[in-house]
Symmetry: C2
Subunit: 365 residues, 2 copies
């Protein structure tokens, strides 16, 4: 595996470029991507002669989560020493540019770097590592596939249990337990269970409200598997017969979400993929309160590049996993949210690959 990380680092070097430059990576997922493992707080220095991972001393150094792979030299920072500052000190005496991640460094840490190595000229690495992370290799996709399978299993089991009378909080906790039962490292993001008037909301925080007959029930959950995170969202109706407004709203969101899924081909603009979903919801009068993005990339983080949004730049590439997850929420009544994770694939390969396969029929539970 260590060649994978070394080759990622080589690709990064090609990007930020000129010989003799150094780069310092501090974003947690970025460090993990380039080093194969990253204890919290670690900073990765790509110096001209060698790559060094600086990290705090940990009592858990034999944990798999903090194992470092990729043939890197590692340096342990003692006590309260900031690994990024230690990396800058390592270069002290050197001059020339050091590219840092201005999106991941606070102003205060940035200043501490400048003080630690006054000869260096700090430049901005910007989102270079995030851009490298957009297209996934097959090992990454296979971890996402397993994460999706785990989320599908946890959700499927929940649907077989009695729901009426149970609180959102307890259902969410049960889903978390099932995710772990099926092999997840943990939830990919806070599991959301939204009943009745809460249904359809983005990232609803589970409350003590109990499931009632006639409710819409929106469940959004995801699994983290070996660092990779992916999610699913579904909306169900509780009781035997959905009301007309529920069927109508469900069919609208379903059609919009399907259009988004079907648009996911290499070369399609991110804003077009968003538009495919959004214009149907807007045309039906639901512009107010729509999410700024109708989907986004997933990987080491549950939200990463690209964004599917009206002002997004860029086009989709093959092997980019994205979510398509529109939702409509009617204040006081509730709503519908349907969210899938798919991998962009060319039509020759069968088109977009759906990772989260739980049915999207409107189930009455």
């Amino acid at each position: 595996m260590s060649e994978v990380y070394a080759s990622r680092r080589a690709r990064l070097r090609d990007q930020y470029g000129a010989t003799g430059a150094a780069a310092l990576v501090c974003g947690h997922a970025n460090v993990r991507y380039l080093a194969g493992g990253a204890p919290p707080g670690a900073a990765l220095l790509l110096a001209p002669g060698e790559d060094v991972l600086f990290h705090p001393r940990s009592q858990a150094d034999d944990d798999q989560s903090s194992r470092v792979d990729g043939g890197l030299r590692t340096a342990v920072c003692e006590g309260p020493d900031d690994p990024a500052v230690a990396a800058a000190r390592f270069l002290a005496g050197a001059d020339g540019p050091l590219a840092v991640e201005e999106d991941h460094l606070t102003v205060a840490r940035h200043r501490a770097l400048a003080v630690a190595a006054p000869g260096l000229r700090l430049t901005d690495l910007a989102g270079a590592v995030e851009q490298l992370r957009v297209v996934k290799d097959e090992e990454e996709v296979s971890r996402l596939r397993i994460a999706a399978e785990i989320a599908d299993q946890a959700l499927g089991e929940l649907l077989e249990s009695i729901l009426v009378g149970r609180t959102e909080r307890h259902l969410a906790l049960e889903l978390d337990r099932r995710l772990v039962d099926h092999g997840a490292d943990g939830p990919a993001f806070p599991t959301s269970v939204a009943t009745g008037p809460h249904s359809g909301r983005a990232a609803h925080r589970p409350s003590d409200r109990r499931v009632e007959e006639g409710d819409f029930l929106t469940v959004t959950l995801g699994a983290e598997y070996r660092g990779y995170r992916c999610g699913i969202g579904r909306t169900f109706v509780i009781g035997t017969a959905p009301a007309d407004w529920q069927i109508e709203l469900y069919e609208l969101v379903f059609a919009a979400q399907r259009a988004g899924r079907e648009s996911l081909l290499p070369g399609v603009g991110c804003r077009e993929a968003d538009h495919a979903v959004r214009h149907r919801l807007v045309a039906a009068g639901h512009e107010e309160g729509l999410d700024p993005c109708t989907g986004h990339g997933v990987g080491l983080e549950i939200v990463e590049e690209p964004q599917l949004a009206p002002a997004a730049m860029g086009k989709l590439d093959a092997c980019v996993p994205v979510t398509v997850g529109p939702g409509v929420h009617l204040p006081g009544r509730g709503g519908v949210r349907i969210d899938d994770t798919l991998v962009v694939r060319p039509e020759a390969d069968g088109g977009p690959e759906l990772l989260t396969i739980t049915t999207k029929e409107l189930l009455a539970l």
Copy 2:
């Protein structure tokens, strides 16, 4: 309640000072402290004439978690607009200093603020809000007291159940469920269950290892109650008779932790409180691998000022809640961690107030 937040903001104004200056608060817990509620991503502007809370539009605006109190004006930011940048734009045209939190702003956001309001001179508010948060009022202490009670209850119930054969992950998930059952908003931090060779480690991430006879079992958990977080850590032994080395190690950590607890009086230096714990562990030969802090403040965050550490400045004040939580871990064998939350009180009031009251006898389970 809203006078509480208005008076906190007035105290902050007194600190950063000069008339005519404005301040922008972005740290999530800091915004919550000053506004009484803070949707994720919110930024609080204290301008000369009025205070305005800028926050992203949320479908959950009626959630209690994002309710805003304190007689503030609020301004909703649409789509991807950064609330901090919106606040700077609000001041556009003004000149003079704007104090920002350089510890909570990335270099990239800081630059965006400067661009949005070029007439402003950005200065550093540093840790001014964090300093205000150190001494708690009685309402804050009473929330912490309830959080501690919840953690004690969840832990107490676990001790009554069968433990041998169950995995660390499942025990941790069960504790999370019990925390919520007893009224927590959620865990205050990731619940840690560490068995056998993992025991005694700081922030051990629960694994699939099962509890075995003869193990040390270290459990660290905490509850969040109405925004306030506090924690407890205990170590038990599994089976009927602890081994000699277990008794000896337990007694050492217990004595060190007790010395730390007893030191918590107003006027005592933070480094002295640390020393009371640390020197006993160092004298017994456990310097290697000791945590950089033996305790720290708790409140809206699970780790906040003050730190109890060898190089810490400052003295303890009355009404400051802190943890005292040393641990010793022997690689390959395991170890002991004992962690309490207490409130610093003068001797006239009975000395330090223990919030986490689960027994610290070495229980054999």
